[in-house]
């Protein structure tokens, strides 16, 4: 288990704070199935780089800059369009941090909503057929 308590936090260049997160112990075998599934995929039109443990992301669409916390970075990195958000939260966040699934999922939804409003994450009810290529990568 790591520190920082699974808080899904983003900061953008307009200094808007992102999701909040209560700190609780994650129950074993969390209720991923109880959530309606969402699939999230990173947009190809962003730049990203890790800087001192935090992920920096900039949207080419509106040039908004975001800094993701360690937890948000885990979700970002797992956003392949095929893994359900609930599974990402359960396996990447709850197993890594001391946080209850319900709280982590609520934070993750707020995070996804914020990034998708800037076109940085694509959200779907269906899994992508296959992972989309990054710009410049051969499909």
């Amino acid at each position: 288990m790591r520190g920082e308590a699974g808080r899904v936090r983003i900061t953008d260049s307009k200094d808007v704070a992102g999701g909040r997160g209560a700190v609780q112990v994650c129950a074993a075998g969390a209720r991923a199935g109880a959530m309606s599934n969402k699939y999230i995929a990173r947009s190809g039109a962003v730049a990203e780089r890790e800087l001192g443990g935090e992920m920096i992301i900039m949207s080419a669409a509106d040039s908004t800059l975001f800094s993701l916390s360690e937890t948000a970075t885990l979700i970002w990195q797992a956003a392949d369009g095929r893994t359900p958000l609930s599974e990402i939260v359960e396996r990447r966040v709850c197993e890594e941090f001391d946080v209850a699934f319900e709280d982590a999922y609520r934070d993750a939804e707020a995070f996804v909503e914020e990034l998708s409003s800037h076109g940085i994450l694509r959200v779907s009810d269906q899994p992508a057929a296959e992972a989309g290529p990054a710009p410049g990568e051969t499909p």
Binding site: T11, D12, S13, D15, G44, A45, V46, A47, E48, R49, E50, L51, G52, I56, M58, A60, S63, L65, F66, S67, A134, P135, G136, E137
Partner: protein, 366 residues
């Protein structure tokens, strides 16, 4: 504190080169009269070499990547290089004259997620712009490309270099930028050539034109604030860094040479012989550049403008001493505030001609 400032401070603390300006070629399809480059190809890096450099830059933590030239798009592999850069998730900005951008190229730049394109426009009048570039019809082609890029939703900055030839045209270019939805940027800086040749400095504007620029609220915002006398010089100012060159940013030439900045031609290493991180971390030249604080500048540390001067260490280097004053920046500080700088007084004491002189910069020794 803005996120960008926080990010820069973190990069500085960690020694990460956050921004790199990478010229892919010095060749160009224009011959701008004020250009600081030799346009012959003296052995540019190959596509494979550039891809290797890009991977090294990504591994070193570079986020902002400016691709430029010369004219970057004269390289047949330019789009391959941009694709590679975007696959490595850089924030890519392209500086170009846009002469080679047609509909297909404009669409491709957008698809690749290039964040913005900066395009040089010298005047809204073809006879002036084309006289600067020495290419008849160049303004028409450049403007057509700008409109195409904007119609696709690409962010465009129109960079307007201020020179005697286009004196009085900045308002026209600004209106053009407004009309097409581009950002307008005016730059009064003319740089000596990379080999130290100062002949292009005849294209620098004089003090009266600079004064017009500094007192135009459309260009500088709040004129009173912009032209205010310099604030007190305290310990934080004396401990300050001259600029980001060599600290969180650097420049790479088409031949793999690394410099602190495109405007600071101090050779620090070559990526054909060394890795980028080796050069970035261990180059004695970069280590020296990083050691310099404002308090170490023999003339400028006693100057009232120390905290607000835009002193460029690269321009100072091209005048012979990276710790010395930059004549052009002394003039800017003086014209902005009416307060004489320490560099101007030192030149007067040394018998240099003219209190305000921006043309007679000594030639850089070979």
């Amino acid at each position: 504190m803005s996120l960008m400032t926080e990010m820069n401070q973190r990069a500085l603390r960690l020694g990460v080169p956050l921004s790199v300006h990478f010229d892919l070629t010095y060749r160009c399809n224009e011959r701008c009269e004020h250009c600081y480059l030799d346009h012959d190809d003296h052995g540019e890096m190959t596509t494979a070499e550039i891809r290797s450099v890009l991977r090294q830059l990504a591994d070193a933590g570079v986020f902002f990547l400016t691709l430029s030239g010369g004219e970057a798009l004269v390289r047949r592999d330019c789009f391959e290089i941009i694709e590679s850069a975007r696959a490595l998730r850089f924030n890519v900005k392209l500086k170009t004259n846009a002469m080679l951008i047609r509909e297909q190229e404009a669409r491709r730049l957008l698809e690749l997620g290039v964040e913005q394109v900066q395009i040089s426009v010298y005047s809204h009048r073809a006879e002036v712009h084309d006289a600067v570039t020495k290419v008849p019809g160049s303004l028409g082609r450049t403007l057509a490309a700008i409109r195409l890029l904007r119609s696709q939703g690409m962010r465009v900055t129109m960079a307007n270099v201020l020179m005697p030839r286009n004196r009085g045209d900045s308002e026209g270019v600004r209106a053009l930028a407004l009309e097409v939805g581009a950002v307008y940027k005016l730059d009064p800086t003319i740089t000596p050539m990379m080999d130290g040749n100062t002949s292009v400095l005849r294209h620098r504007v004089d003090a009266s034109e600079l004064s017009n620029f500094f007192h135009n609220p459309h260009l500088v915002g709040d004129v009173e604030e912009f032209c205010a006398p310099p604030g007190p010089v305290d310990e934080s100012v004396r401990e300050g860094l001259p600029c980001s060159a060599g600290h969180t940013s650097c420049y790479i030439s088409p031949y793999g040479e690394v410099y602190p900045c495109v405007q600071f031609p101090l050779p620090c290493g070559n990526l054909r012989r060394e890795t980028f991180l080796d050069v970035w971390r261990n180059s004695p030249q970069l280590v020296e550049v990083r050691s310099i604080r404002a308090k170490h500048l023999p003339t400028c540390s006693s100057c009232a403008h120390l905290g607000s001067c835009t002193r460029c260490p690269g321009l100072a280097y091209m005048e012979g001493n990276m710790r010395g004053p930059s004549t052009a920046d002394c003039e800017k500080s003086f014209v902005r505030t009416g307060i004489v700088t320490a560099g101007m007084l030192a030149r007067k004491a040394a018998g240099a001609p003219g209190l305000v002189q921006i043309r007679a910069v000594p030639q850089l020794s070979a």
